[in-house]
Symmetry: C2
DNA sequence: ACATTATGTATAGTTTATTTTACATGTTGT
DNA sequence: ACAACATGTAAAATAAACTATACATAATGT
């Protein structure tokens, strides 16, 4: 829906995880590399299901990977 | 994306919150009642942004409202 | 008996997420 | 200099989320 309300730590987490590449993350999450690029760059935010899968790849709770930036 | 991988506690939470109605939740979350109905019934799962907004209405962390059911 | 409210269902239309394909760039190793 | 790899960008196509409208039903109160 929105544009920039949601931020994420994907890039940081990739490097803290065996220097995981975009393609590797895409494979483990079951999506295309383009999807990872778009989310990582903030072009759009993922579906809830994909957000859960990405968080699960990193073994982190969802809210440590994705943050909702309150714009009051 | 998926169909039934994600479950939620919306219905329970509505009743634990002042008997909040679907319409009231929809208004507070900034969506249509149809969207709440569809999510509550599991027709589809919300976007990550909407999931955050709904959780915020109930004052709960996202993962207390939505659960990812591991299908291994 | 009637009006009101909350919910469920359905369908068509719009917007956003995701895929597919393709090309460009900088880096690394040989 | 060349190949291989990681990343960024872009555009067209498909799928999924979301809106708008409308109708049906059961429950509640007057």
């Amino acid at each position: 829906m929105g544009k920039d309300a949601i931020s994420n730590q994907i890039r940081n987490l990739r490097f803290h995880h065996n220097e995981m590449t975009q393609q590797q993350l895409a494979d483990k999450a079951g999506v295309t590399r383009q999807t990872i690029v778009a989310i990582e760059k903030g072009n759009y935010s993922p579906s809830l299901e994909l957000a859960f899968r990405i968080a699960r790849v990193f073994g982190k709770p969802l809210e440590e990977v994705f943050q909702y930036d309150d714009k009051q």
